[in-house]
Symmetry: C2
Subunit: 263 residues, 2 copies
């Protein structure tokens, strides 16, 4: 937890209340914080900031001097279409996608998604994983998560409307590499350089190019997509890209791929 997020209902004009057991435990045991100390907090859906611990009991922590003046970081303007993974990795994947700032997440059925995954009780706990991800990534804005149990109707009828610019699907066996794709889609980007980062070499000016974030990124679960799925996605304009010869775990692939567009 790099910040403590609270729902709007827990704020009064001057104070805020922490009553969730996991947050209280984190503050008292991991942070070892005491009355008078300042915490990084945020209001779910609102701003980030700080508050001072006014009172602590095992059941609640009262905060005073609440200052919520920092806007949350911009979202990654992307829809990640993810084949529903094993329940064991679902929590970390939702946390990571939330922490890295994905705006829309579509959990979809795929040939290699086992039917039992859709019965997992963890699917009822997505809000909890999202909160963990926001508190990890220091953000207050929840991503939208949609469940799509039918692959073909979603791809054929709904995917196109999400593709406001290009779309890619991670596929270890595609001919085009992510590096090649990024080169092809690079566009001028203005970097604001501070003094610590001044560019001394004029030659570097030509490098102010960055690849545009695709509007849709599709990532398979273990075993990846089957050819039929890749074909259906390609028919909608989704470009298959490989990430090198190495095949990464889904979690690793999500972070390695989206990491290209970290703000």
């Amino acid at each position: 937890m790099n910040c403590i997020l609270l729902p709007a209902a827990n704020f009064s004009p001057t104070h805020a209340l922490i009553d969730a057991p996991r947050q209280i435990e984190h503050i008292s045991k991991v942070l070892g914080a005491q009355v008078g100390e300042t915490l990084k907090i945020g209001q779910l859906g609102g701003n980030l900031g700080t508050a001072v611990i006014d009172e602590m009991t095992p059941a609640k922590i009262q905060l005073c001097d609440v200052r919520l003046t920092i806007e949350p970081p911009p979202k990654l303007d992307v829809t990640v279409v993810l084949a529903l993974p094993r329940p064991k990795v679902l929590r970390r994947l939702v946390m990571d996608m939330t922490a890295i700032g994905v705006r829309d997440i579509v959990l979809i059925n795929s040939y290699r998604t086992q039917k039992s995954y859709w019965q997992s009780p963890l699917l009822a706990r997505l809000d909890e994983f999202v909160l963990e991800g926001l508190q990890q990534g220091v953000d207050t804005l929840v991503p939208r998560i949609t469940l799509q149990k039918r692959f073909k109707p979603f791809v054929e009828d709904e995917l196109a409307s999400l593709m406001t610019n290009c779309a890619i699907v991670a596929h270890p066996y595609s001919e085009l590499s992510l590096g090649q794709y990024l080169q092809q889609h690079a566009q001028p980007t203005v970097y604001t350089l501070n003094s610590a980062a001044s560019i001394s070499n004029q030659e570097h000016k030509q490098l102010h190019m960055k690849s545009a974030l695709p509007s849709v990124v599709c990532i398979g679960a273990e075993g990846g997509w089957i050819d039929y799925e890749i074909e259906l996605l390609a028919a909608q304009g989704c470009q298959a890209v490989n990430m090198g010869r190495r095949v990464l775990r889904t979690e690793a692939a999500v972070n390695a791929l989206l990491g290209q567009w970290l703000l």
Copy 2:
């Protein structure tokens, strides 16, 4: 497991033997493979290729028609200096760094590494996690893993010799961003484009630049590095870079950072 790796001792001139219970279970239960089917295999430290299942029992699988003709993918020529993480995430981190191709891994003590982590029985199982990572990433070459229980002597006396070119340390609170760093260190790179990836637009030719892989990448565990550690690293020439405003889990940070140099 995207390939089954076997030690050299398990190969004869014409055959190969699988006797590890986890591999047998994967082949029979996950892949559901049967006699006559072809498997992707590799020889630890050697080549990758295929073999045909000749005979299967619950205790061993005999392979024939062994063809090891494919060289393993090139390693990422980097040393990752990683603050020893919680045992729970150690396995996945070693797997992921191995799968993504890191050549050298240094697990180091840090202020925020709890002493108990060094007593974890998982530290005796690193070879097993490396094998998992190689079988995930489809590689045969094990990374070198070194344990360094003392931060200061390592940084002051040994780090410099590993820095054959630049070095970075991931630090959410640094002024320089990874994006800025990559711009500053970009250098011409030749891409081999296949027909599927032909560049139609001449303007893109100026973009054949890629940032050089640092020789050393330092990544903290949960809670990151303390200022003193960042200062010691900086004194050796290690540049602190942030990866945006968002703070990622160590696993996510490792993949998002190294993903910039996926081959």
